[in-house]
């Protein structure tokens, strides 16, 4: 086992009956890394997590953890923790008993158990709630119990399936910080699933973008945000102006356009709305829509290239609907795409 592959998925293929949900997935995760699994609904995020946890049988390929092939190891012997979106607390047990559940199964008893459970509860700030039932807790508190219940087991990997999606915006931020803190304190390897790119960017060491059962791109938050390698990822992280290149020329509804200074050997180019410069430039468009977003203003332009989205500082003078504007797509700002899908 090298350092770079504490947890590795090798040619992992997962299926429900005959329908393949995840195909030939390769992924290496370092010890202590915090990985975000990002992708649209149905792309196989939950399926992948369930396979790592052992809740779903692997069709082909391997899962290795800490040097051992765990592909056929049953879920209860894997030392993999999973936090469910619904928390999955045991409703008949108190908070204390929920956290003690796994430790008792390990044979832990007496003062050792007591100490361990109490310190688990303390680490999530729930010491005073030990005797409550899950139904008597708020969503955020239930989440913390679930976190403590997983963490006292000292799992080698903790999987979190959309851990924050059931919480309101403020709690979300709070739990985000909490997860980060727990991860830092314990050094546990974490993989969390999210729909929310902001969450992934804020939390993860590396982001894995998935699309229909395959990995589309793996990279640091900066990589994913600034240097998407495919039109799919570019679109997913907010590049809204995307054009394919053909023979080095940009393919638009106005035909092929030669941009001087464009990067060589790309399959496409992508600009965030903020990268479009409004006011001057070789292209012209008509304002079809505008929306105000506090410190910025977004315009939807009708142009011969097709629809273009541009964003400018709100302090700039506003343009009215129907106004004709010049604009430029500066090639040096564009993200070059290696794949156009």
């Amino acid at each position: 086992m090298s350092d770079a592959s504490y947890l590795s998925l090798e040619k992992l293929t997962l299926a429900y009956g005959d329908s393949v949900a995840v195909a030939n997935l390769d992924l290496n995760i370092r010890k202590g890394e915090l990985i975000a699994l990002l992708g649209p609904s149905g792309c196989g995020k939950t399926t992948t997590m369930r396979a790592i946890a052992g809740l779903l049988a692997v069709k082909s390929g391997h899962v290795r953890l800490d040097g051992a092939d765990i592909t056929r190891v049953p879920a209860n012997k894997r030392a993999v923790g999973l936090m469910f979106q619904s928390y999955a607390l045991f409703p008949h047990l108190s908070v204390y008993e929920n956290v003690a559940f796994g430790l008792k199964l390990k044979g832990m008893r007496g003062p050792e158990l007591e100490t361990k459970v109490q310190s688990g509860l303390k680490s999530v700030g729930l010491s005073t709630f030990a005797n409550r039932k899950p139904a008597e807790l708020s969503g955020g508190q239930q989440q913390r119990v679930a976190l403590a219940r997983s963490m006292v087991m000292e799992p080698k990997v903790l999987l979190l399936d959309e851990p924050l999606s059931n919480l309101d915006a403020r709690l979300r931020l709070e739990m985000r910080t909490e997860l980060q803190r727990v991860q830092k304190e314990t050094g546990v390897t974490m993989i969390f699933v999210t729909h929310d790119q902001a969450e992934a960017l804020a939390l993860a060491d590396r982001i894995v973008v998935m699309k229909s059962g395959k990995i589309e791109q793996i990279g640091s938050p900066e990589d994913i945000y600034n240097r998407p390698t495919s039109s799919f990822v570019a679109d997913f992280v907010g590049f809204e102006n995307i054009f394919p290149l053909e023979n080095g020329k940009m393919k638009t509804s106005a035909g092929l356009i030669d941009l001087s200074g464009k990067p060589p050997s790309a399959a496409g180019l992508a600009w965030r709305p903020r990268m479009v410069s409004l006011g001057t430039g070789p292209f012209q468009g008509t304002v079809r829509g505008t929306s105000f977003a506090g410190d910025s203003r977004e315009y939807l332009l009708d142009t011969s290239l097709g629809p273009i989205k541009a964003e400018v500082e709100a302090s700039q003078p506003a343009h009215a609907l129907g106004a004709d504007l010049f604009f430029d797509l500066p090639p040096e700002k564009a993200a070059p795409l290696l794949r156009f899908v």
Binding site: F84, L89, F90
Partner: protein, 260 residues
């Protein structure tokens, strides 16, 4: 007040009268001092209530009914809980068919079930009367057990079992550690419903009862054919109050009506 506004209260009263009326008549008749079952009762006495406890055959058949109700329901639950679990947790092929078949005795008249059991099981296989009654009552209670237990399983999210497994429990262990405790209310309700159903069951028992082995309701019918005194009414009243007591306690402590 118009006739219109009286319509609903009057309908309600009539419904209550039809439901409760016969019961009140029986209760009144059991306190009669007369020699025959009659309404209105002649005088007041507790002699028929007292007599119930002295009739030898009532005591034997009460024991038999109790045995069938407890044993049959327990057996139905032992079969029904795993069956309900499998039906609710695994996408089995033909699960719907199994559900329908299992609940058939609810739909099919008891007379037919009794006749079928007698004709195709009891007679060909020379099954003893007690065993035959036991099997019949188990079969009769099974659909109720499956229905009530299924209802409480469907209310329980299945991811708590997976959570238990990931915390180190086996699948079977997870069933006993986190599923059973959470469907306890449903199981108790199924038990009570099964008990009452079995205890009050007449047609099937009628077919299967034999010399010396009878359930209480069958015995009461037989008794009435010979002796027409108010003791049958007294016994009915006692049983009715017993049932009401059980259901009341169940509702109070288990929220019985949630499952039925």
């Amino acid at each position: 007040m118009t006739l219109r506004s009286l319509f609903i209260p009057i309908t309600l009263l009539l419904v209550i009268a039809f439901l409760i009326g016969p019961f009140l008549i029986i209760v009144a008749a059991s306190f009669s001092a007369g020699e025959t079952l009659a309404f209105p009762p002649q005088g007041f006495s507790l002699r028929w209530i007292a007599k119930v406890f002295t009739v030898e055959s009532f005591r034997a058949s009460f024991g038999m009914s109790l045995f069938l109700a407890i044993g049959g329901t327990a057996a139905a639950l032992i079969l029904g809980i795993p069956a309900s679990y499998a039906l609710s947790r695994y996408k089995l092929p033909g699960a719907e068919i199994v559900r329908t078949v299992v609940s058939a005795p609810i739909i099919v008249p008891g007379i037919i079930v009794g006749l079928a059991l007698l004709r195709y099981i009891v007679v060909p296989f020379q099954v003893g009367i007690t065993l035959a009654l036991f099997l019949a009552h188990t079969a009769l209670v099974l659909p109720y057990a499956v229905r009530v237990v299924s209802a409480s399983l469907d209310n329980l999210r299945s991811d708590i079992e997976e959570a238990a497994v990931l915390l180190g429990s086996s699948r079977l262990g997870a069933f006993f550690r986190v599923v059973m405790p959470n469907i306890r209310g449903g199981i108790m309700s199924a038990f009570i419903l099964g008990f009452v159903t079995s205890f009050n069951q007449v047609p099937v028992s009628l077919f299967l009862s034999g010399p010396g082995v009878r359930t209480l309701p069958v015995d009461m019918i037989a008794y009435m054919e010979i002796v027409f005194d108010p003791s049958v009414a007294a016994l009915s009243s006692l049983l009715a109050f017993l049932s009401i007591g059980i259901v009341f306690v169940a509702e109070r402590f288990l929220g019985f009506s949630r499952y039925v």
